[in-house]
Amino acid sequence: MREFLTGNYAAAYGVKLSRVEVVSAYPITPQTSVIEKISEFVEKGELKAKLIRVESEHSAMAAVIGAAFSGARAYTATSAQGLLYMYEMIWWAAGSRLPVVAGIVTRAIAPPWSIWTDHSDFMTLRDAGWAMLFASSAQEVLDMTIQAFKLAKELMLPVAVGWDAFITSHTAEPVEVPPQEQVDYFLGEKKKSPAAVDFENPFAHGALAFPKDYPKFREDIHRTLKAAGEVYSNIERRYYEATGRERYGLVEEVFCEDADAVMFIMGAAAGDAIHAAGELRRKGLHVGVARIRSIRPFPRNEVEKIARRASKVIVFDRSYSLGFGGVLATEVRSVLHEEGVDTPVISVTGGLGGSDLSPEYFEKIFLKGLGV
């Protein structure tokens, strides 16, 4: 059914269609309307979930961790300061191998206060053992949220789905909402989670691991996430078979095949970059856009392949590793170095704290990249 939804409402629809059993969250702009819509579904009886009100994001994540320990399908959502407050529990969720899903409505980190988008909050998840997907439209927020529950279960790791504050979270657009039976078919029968409490075969979580044991747990998460690209691609294919929605892979390539300059970019602004690339193509300039949809697993093969074909790579970051540079650029450079690809990489950071990224802005970056 075609609905007219904001990104946040699309997330709530994704949660409802995934038959989530426990939701716990603390309100923060711009995440608030995700939980408002979910609570509306719960109140109307359209979603049979327990909504746990908490006093902080730390507790919100703790509550969904507890729910996942009982085997329930659990969801939370937050932004910026809220995610930072949740951070200790973020590591507990991954380390305990719990398949929870969190929506991250990206917002710049304070101080100074900002309610607008950049990806600095989302990027703090990079080293924590979470799978990290990023949407660029309300439609994709809905599709990715549903896919995330399947991915979490198959990896036995938590999954974050990110989308930009306001630009995606509060912009309304037509969204195809798949029928419940298609999503039920896609997600399949709910199986017992291996991490769930089992009274017949008891075990203790939160145990101490001696130095000889500790590394194997980290290595297992590392291996699992590194190989998760194929897992996600299969999930996307099965989602496509069930619902007929588009599939993109870990990177959506637009005009990349014959491009001299390719821009790697993540999030809603990719749409503006694609528009700019289209305009430049009309003027005979060969530019392309590679939209990163997953940070973990990092699309190593795709990045390598795309960069090898191009003569110039531009990496656009909406976040900083302060004192070092663009986060995405660092990862792209690292992959290209390891794979022996010597295409020059230009790192551009912009759009911090919600500053507007127009097609004209991206045209200028492309022209600079091409040396025109």
């Binding site: 007219f4 912009t171 657009e173 037509p174 097609p359």
Partner: protein
């Protein structure tokens, strides 16, 4: 085809609701539409804007609209305060909640096509009021629809009744319809 719209108003006057309703009506016509709210310091009474992009194809741009084809001004008191005609395309139209005199003054000043409708008057007559504000947004949606020619009354009506029901829907619809029928173009 890509048409871009900018809505000006004050916090609490329903600028975002207007943009949402207008986009919904466009979707009802089988078009692709975005309603983009610009969120700032959303305090009551502060000047606010919202945007629409409407096309026959999927729109991927999400940045704010800088070169609108149409600009709607919900509150005439903003005319001297905000550069409402800023970036308006050549051949674009300003649609103002105001009188014939306002229109003529504006045509002279900015040299653009100007349309006016007494949206506040219509709202007050229909009892469209909220916390002391006249809800001029409903007649303005009708006026913008008429002037832009993007959506017709059927698509608007369906959008109104999809969002609201009962008496609220009826009075909102009356406002939209009157705005559509009473808007006049100058210049």
């Amino acid at each position: 085809m890509l048409l871009e719209f900018r809505w000006h108003g004050r916090g609490g006057q329903g600028v975002v609701t207007a943009a949402l309703l207008f986009a919904r009506a466009a979707v009802n016509k089988g078009l692709y539409a975005l309603a983009i709210p610009f969120f700032g310091a959303e305090r009551r009474g502060a000047p606010v804007v919202a945007f629409n992009r409407i096309s026959d194809k999927v729109i991927r741009m999400r940045s704010s609209v800088k070169r609108p084809d149409f600009v709607a001004v919900l509150d005439p008191s903003l005319l001297g305060l905000v550069d409402v005609a800023g970036g308006l395309k050549l051949g674009g139209t300003l649609i103002i909640n105001g009188s014939k005199e306002t229109a003529e003054e504006f045509v002279e000043k900015v040299g653009k096509r100007v349309a006016v409708v007494d949206a506040t008057g219509i709202a007050l007559e229909l009892g469209l009021k909220l916390s002391g504000y006249a809800l001029a947004n409903m007649p303005m949606v009708g006026a913008v629809a008429r002037v832009s020619g993007v959506v017709d009354l059927d698509a608007l009506r369906k959008a109104v009744y999809d969002v609201w029901d009962g008496r609220v829907a009826d009075s909102n619809w009356a406002g939209v319809e009157r705005g559509f029928k009473e808007v006049k173009i100058f210049g």
